[in-house]
Symmetry: C2
DNA sequence: CTTAAAATAGGAATAATTCCTATTTTTATA
DNA sequence: TATAAAAATAGGAATTATTCCTATTTTAAG
């Protein structure tokens, strides 16, 4: 996992071009549009490798397939639990201290890849309040 | 969404019984095992409703289908992106300030429901590095 | 009651993801 | 460099996960 293959670069570049949390399918389409030779299996394999490598994160929405986004600190995600809308935001979390606290509590030297705030956006909050 | 249907209760109970972040398929199996009438469509619909209702969270892993787990306040979750293991932890996030910052950035008075840290646990970190 | 709205069963249809094999590319090292 | 082993890929089939459809039932509202 030291040097990236041409295809892995193609996958990463496609995500950069697409900007808004694309699905694997959308990434595959963009990759083909860019005349990459990458097959579907290759796209999925490299998405997985890029997550492991902390270049991207995988975002689960309440509906539909999972999505991907670049890791771009300090840049976190607030995801609406209802509609799945993803809001990017920046905040100066004390990551080192949180990591230390986690180690104390769960006894592992875990890597923090992302903060995902689970939220309710205004639109959904209003809609749900009617129930 | 005030009162739960029998089937929605069945889905929630299945997750309680299964304990370890089951997939929708595993939940469906357990539900049938418990002689619920719930169909597959009903299970998926209610999983979605339970997430909206903050009774459960949806967990995305690097591989395999999404999983579900109970929400257990008042602590937060650190979720391994690879194996899906959920670590409970407590931390004194300045929720009011984060909320204020979010409002400034995205212009919405969002409710923060949960913090989910996306992590790689020690075990997975070691295993995945071999690839 | 009566009607409208919401939820469900059953399973087909669709979409997402993984897997397989032959081939190519990269890496290590002699 | 040559060469053997390891890793990555193409192409697409196979599998799995998820959504969707229609008729029916249940719940909520007036």
């Amino acid at each position: 996992m030291k040097n990236y293959s041409k295809q892995r670069e193609d996958v990463l570049n496609a995500i950069k071009e697409l900007k808004n949390h694309p699905t694997a399918e959308e990434i595959y389409s963009k990759v083909k549009e860019n005349n990459s030779t990458a097959s579907k299996g290759t796209v999925y394999r490299n998405l997985k490798n890029l997550v492991i490598d902390k270049k991207i994160i995988k975002i689960s929405k309440i509906e539909g397939p999972d999505r991907y986004d670049l890791v771009n600190y300090p840049h976190y995600h607030a995801i609406c639990a209802s509609c799945g809308k993803v809001f990017d935001f920046v905040y100066d979390f004390d990551v080192a201290n949180i990591r230390k606290s986690l180690k104390k509590q769960i006894g592992e030297n875990i890597d923090i890849n992302d903060f995902s705030l689970q939220i309710l956006c205004d639109k959904c909050k209003n809609k749900l309040q009617k129930n």
